[in-house]
């Protein structure tokens, strides 16, 4: 056994162990922390599998954004329990009968067994599409970016649509019409303010660098957008004034700009070359760059909205009305 294989084996065992622990754990906070650790181990696994693009996105999403969303949801449920006057840890739902639990285990084992058998019979190396992609990319030297915005651009286009729909669905589920949300207003903490003042511009710089890098190296709109989303969450969580500087229509614009740019690019290419999203060679780089920039901004704005939108609507509006409702409208 080579040292490489030992490393891979350790990584794989840790991943499975973490997944097992986080799914078994009864304590929510423990689950959230284990999930963040799981995301970080996944990021290492992506590096081991020579997929640094995914590792960058996973480190920010799997370990960062999902963790924040989870912790926030846990805290919110605890807060609601307190509002209802329930104390102590939540009673777990009653256990299912043994037969049902046995059936679930059997179903999972059967699915796992079938999948293991399937993986066992995976054929050996196939040519894949790596050659085809590298033959056709001229301006874009990084094949993953080329696939994302040139060959499979419709996936990316629709994905921006999904993000937009998720934001709309979230606002509907929370019964809200705008994105304004009551800030949690933590006590003014000079250390927090100082850290945010240094960290936020630096993170935006990193996001811009990743976007610029995407043309020929791992990086691009996705990784950049995810980091922008994390900046938005940070600013909102720390109650930084800059997040309020943007009016509501500004947020709406940022959320749709990626999808809109893609749609405009599709219309222009349809008119110019007769094929949708088949960029004319002279304009190719400029179009791709503007699509990527708009996509990164939209991904960032949507992630911020997906987090901010989880919270009750602006409480300031309620105090303006002279009401002091603790439960804003659903």
């Amino acid at each position: 056994m080579t040292a490489d294989l030992v490393l891979d084996l350790l990584l794989v065992v840790s991943l499975l162990l973490l997944a097992w622990l986080l799914l078994r754990s009864e304590d929510f906070l423990r689950t959230a922390v284990l999930f963040i650790a799981f995301g970080l181990f996944m990021a290492i696994a992506w590096v081991r599998l020579l997929a640094p693009d995914i590792a960058l996105a996973e480190a920010a999403i799997g370990a960062g954004i999902t963790g924040v969303l989870l912790m926030d949801a846990i805290r919110h449920m605890e807060w609601e329990r307190q509002q209802r006057g329930e104390d102590g840890p939540e009673h777990p739902p009653p256990k299912r009968p043994l037969a049902v639990r046995g059936g679930i285990l059997a179903a999972a084992l059967a699915a796992g067994g079938l999948l293991v058998a399937g993986v066992w019979q995976l054929p050996g190396q196939r040519p894949g599409l790596a050659g085809a992609v590298s033959d056709r990319t001229e301006e874009l030297e990084h094949p993953v970016t080329a696939v994302l915005v040139v060959f499979r651009s419709i996936d990316t286009w629709l994905e921006l649509g999904i993000l937009m729909l998720a934001v709309i669905g979230l606002l509907a589920a929370r019964g809200r019409q705008t994105l304004e949300a009551a800030s949690l207003a933590p006590p003014r903490d000079p250390v927090l303010e100082g850290v945010v003042r240094v960290l936020a511009p630096l993170a935006i710089l990193v996001a811009g660098y990743l976007l610029w890098l995407g043309t020929w190296a791992p990086g691009g709109a996705f990784q950049s957008g995810v980091i922008l989303g994390a900046v938005g969450m940070l600013l909102w969580l720390s109650d930084h004034r800059s997040i309020e500087a943007l009016p509501v229509w500004g947020w709406k614009l940022l959320i749709v700009v990626g999808f809109a740019t893609f749609t405009a690019a599709a219309a222009i290419t349809l008119l110019l070359s007769g094929a949708m999203l088949e960029y004319p060679p002279d304009w190719m780089l400029a179009m791709i760059k503007s699509i990527e920039l708009a996509a990164a901004i939209s991904i960032g704005a949507c992630f911020t909205a997906l987090f901010v939108g989880q919270h009750p609507a602006q409480q300031r509006l309620q105090t303006d009305d002279g009401k002091q409702e603790r439960h804003p409208r659903l």
């Binding site: 891979d8 794989v12 997944a19 986080l22 799914l23 929510f28 689950t31 999930f35 799981f38 696994a45 599998l49 020579l50 997929a51 693009d53 995914i54 996105a57 969303l69 989870l70 949801a73 846990i74 449920m77 609601e80 939540e90 009673h91 777990p92 739902p93 009653p94 299912r96 179903a107 699915a111 796992g112 293991v116 993986v119 995976l122 050996g124 190396q125 040519p127 894949g128 599409l129 790596a130 050659g131 992609v133 590298s134 993953v144 080329a146 060959f151 996936d155 994905e159 999904i162 934001v167 589920a173 929370r174 996705f222 957008g225 995810v226 992630f303 997906l306 987090f307 939108g309 989880q310």
Partner: protein, 114 residues
Amino acid sequence: MMEIEQHALYALAAVLLFALGFHGLLSRRHLLRKIIAVNVMSSGVFLLLIAVARRDAVDFPDPVPQAMVLTGIVVAISISALAMALARRIYRQTGGSTLYAAEEEPQREEAQEE
């Protein structure tokens, strides 16, 4: 000893992750835990795709599955956020954190009083 290839190891881990998540999805009842279980399942799917891309790597792993996984990760997290918002709505309106509130909540209340 048989030489295990790297991609085969990760592919095996991927399907085991999927099965673990599947079991969690069915057996856990709290909605947040179900969302987490689905996330573990999707990690398994992504890992399998990239393990296959790694298998086909000559000098660079197949970029098409990589792009698919990147898209998938972003879609998975946005769907998780939407699911969490729905879970919060259910929690606020029914006071229950499962999908079985209607029949089982009264039993739980009785159990608490005993």
